[in-house]
């Protein structure tokens, strides 16, 4: 096994990877940007090395600097987390040629699967159902319009090297098509350096269902069941759960088999996720393979009892998988809520800034993978994810109630977060029934604002805070017999 691992990431995912490393007696190296000198992952690591300025390209995306740091600190492997360089084939290739173990699939697999149309071709050959659409990308707008015409609207315009909703447009009518192509091309070119687009048939309010897979270097591959991630905003998942409320044993078997076929067909090694769309008639379609640890991996860990990061390290070190498909069981239900630094009342604007107070929920069946603390300044340079709150319980309903309790006791003050919004989603009858489709948020929570029922209680709290100010620890060791607030405040508040 590795002796020392560099984690080429920040925040909650870097912390989470380090925890498993520590449990395996592996030393950890954190890397960080200037603005992250006091970030949680720096505090958690055994060593921490400054990469450079806060801009991602000068720090967390700086391949040379990261490989150089791994060599200087004597790290024998690099874990990329998710985001940043996790799905960058050049980074993986650089690791390979530097003799550093990249904890993820081989670079050529990342490259193949990162090309959306090539990935579609691989899957089609392996017999995995794909969404009707083009198998070759193009920058020719006229060709795209013609294909759309044949396919029939609505269509999905997608960037061949896309991700995170960037370079993606839903087009429901002919007259919007040309402009949508141009703007998607622009966005994709800027984000990924490649403006090529392709089309897919647009399904009507499908579910997003994905399968976690593990594949070792010996050619064994298994899936660890599905996750449903239909609750999304602008193609960003915000709530994930397992099992999917839409699943039955035969559909699970068919989709699981397809996921394993997808993995074997692409020569995949390490942990990955095969994403599908599931339509209302129970047909499913390959969407893409995420060639990394997924943000929502904890719900699979909590229901299967398998530490996915440990499996990633074991596979990267050459160990064969310790279980076969039939050995993997699942128990109970798990839900994850992503806690973002966003203001849900103001169009989910980012809300970076100083965390004045932070208190995590605790209790049976609760896990919080967290990258912040009281006094941490959430930087504006990176993703707005603060933490991932995960619960598990015996049934979906028990897990839902547990998540509500956990969210209601998760205190973050100073910046805006999505917590109050998430509570209302969890409490909604549609979520309770499991009616979760990718258009859930726009359909049910389009113009959400916080319930103001407790505002009088907030006013009372404000005043009680005034009345008790002198008695608090921060007021210092006061003399006994000091006047009550009724005496001191009373004079000027008539």
């Amino acid at each position: 096994m590795f002796k020392k691992i560099l984690i080429a990431n920040r925040g909650e995912i870097a912390v989470r990877v380090m925890r498993t490393c520590r449990e395996m007696d592996i030393q950890t190296v954190a890397v960080y940007s200037e603005v992250d000198a006091a970030a949680a992952h720096v505090l958690e690591a055994d060593e921490a090395v400054l990469l450079g300025e806060s801009e991602p390209s000068k720090s967390y995306l700086n391949i040379d600097r990261i490989i150089d740091t791994a060599e200087k600190t004597g790290a024998d492997a690099i874990h990329p987390g998710y985001g940043f360089l996790a799905e960058n084939p050049d980074f993986a290739e650089n690791c390979e040629s530097s003799g550093i173990n990249f904890i993820g699939p081989p670079s050529h697999v990342i490259r193949d699967l990162g090309n959306k149309t090539l990935a579609r071709t691989i899957m089609e050959k392996a017999g995995v159902p794909v969404i009707p659409g083009m198998l070759k990308a193009t920058t020719d707008t006229a060709l795209l319009c013609q294909e759309a015409e044949e396919m029939g609207y609505p269509v999905l315009v997608k960037a061949v090297s896309g991700g995170g909703g960037k370079g993606m447009r839903v087009v429901s009518a002919r007259e919007e098509m040309e402009e949508a192509c141009l703007s998607a091309m622009n966005e994709a070119k800027k984000a990924f350096g490649d403006g090529s687009l392709y089309l897919e048939k647009c399904l009507e309010s499908p579910r997003h269902v994905e399968f976690q897979i593990l594949a070792d270097r010996q050619g064994n591959a298994v899936h660890l069941f599905e996750r449903e991630c239909s609750i999304q905003r602008r193609h960003q998942k915000i709530i994930e759960e397992t099992p999917s409320p839409a699943m039955n044993p035969s559909l699970r078997k068919a989709m699981g088999d397809a996921a394993v076929s997808a993995v074997l067909a692409s020569g995949y090694v390490n942990a990955g996720t095969v994403e599908f769309l599931l339509d209302r008639s129970g047909r499913f379609y390959f969407l893409e393979v995420n060639t990394r640890l997924q943000v929502e991996h904890p719900i699979t860990e909590m229901t299967t009892g398998i530490d996915l990061v440990r499996q990633q390290l074991e596979i990267a070190a050459g160990t064969p998988l310790p279980f076969k498909q039939q050995d993997i069981t699942r128990r109970g239900h798990a839900i994850e809520c992503r806690i973002y630094a966003e203001d849900p009342e103001a169009g989910f604007f980012p809300s970076p800034g100083l965390v004045l107070f932070h208190q995590e929920p605790s209790g049976p069946g609760i896990r919080n993978d967290c990258g912040i603390y009281s006094g941490f300044e959430v930087p504006m340079e990176y993703d707005p994810i603060l933490s991932k709150l995960v619960v598990t319980a015996g049934t979906r309903e028990a897990a839902r109630m547990r998540m509500i309790r956990a969210l209601e006791s998760y205190v973050i003050l100073g910046i805006r977060t999505t917590i109050p919004f998430l509570i209302d989603v969890l409490k909604s009858p549609e979520f309770a029934k499991g009616d979760t489709y990718t258009d859930f948020i726009e359909r049910h929570f389009d113009n959400w604002s916080q319930n103001m029922e407790a505002s009088n209680l907030a006013r009372i709290a404000y005043i009680v805070d005034e009345l008790t100010a002198s008695t608090k620890p921060s007021a210092g060791l006061k003399e006994r017999g000091c006047p009550t607030p009724w005496e001191t405040l009373g004079e000027w508040r008539m």
């Binding site: 980012p350 970076p352 006791s409 209680l457 907030a458 006013r459 404000y462 005043i463 620890p473």
Partner: protein, 172 residues
């Protein structure tokens, strides 16, 4: 004692009186009367018993308001006696008409106008980015750009006036 507290633009009078000179109190808010007992648990945590219902609330002081947490909801509560009005720095709701300020701490990506330009209401002026999300700041009204106070790559915060626009009668 009287307090005058604002939450989400709504200002309400609150009257408090102690029933025993100590922690047993009565709050009058509009028509409602609340019987409240309280105890400070720590610097940021209060235990309230309101009409016999027990609640743990968290309160911290921000720049111009207190941030209050109650069962997963957060409230920003302002008291003009405590926090004298300053140039508004939040969400741009209260800035002078014609002034353009970002909704969040961010970095300027593009400036799409120059001083002297005539702009139309809703026209994009400046693109800022934070946390990998770009936002276009738009003209609040028709008018002429009289001043641009920022540059590309500058770090800006709510309350910073990035662009000043003078309403011009003739452009309407």
């Amino acid at each position: 004692m009287k307090f005058c507290l604002k939450i989400a633009q709504e200002t309400v009078d609150v009257d408090v009186s102690s029933l025993d000179g100590k922690q047993d109190t009565e709050f009058t808010i509009g028509e409602e009367i609340y019987h409240v007992r309280y105890k400070a648990i720590s610097d940021s945590c209060l235990h309230l018993v309101v009409d016999e219902k027990s609640t743990e609330v968290f309160v911290v002081r921000g720049e111009q308001e207190k941030h209050i947490f109650i069962n997963g909801q957060t409230f920003s509560v302002q008291d003009d006696d405590q926090f004298p009005s300053r140039p508004a720095r939040r969400r741009g709701i209260e800035q002078a008409p014609g002034d353009v300020t970002p909704p969040m701490p961010s970095v300027v990506v593009r400036i799409m106008v120059k001083e002297g330009d005539l702009v139309k209401q809703g026209q994009g002026l400046i693109v800022v980015t934070a946390m990998k999300m770009e936002t276009t700041l738009k003209a609040p009204n028709n008018g002429r750009v009289i001043k641009i106070n920022t540059t590309v790559d500058a770090k800006v915060a709510p309350g910073d006036i990035l662009v000043e626009i003078e309403k011009e009668e003739k452009s309407q």
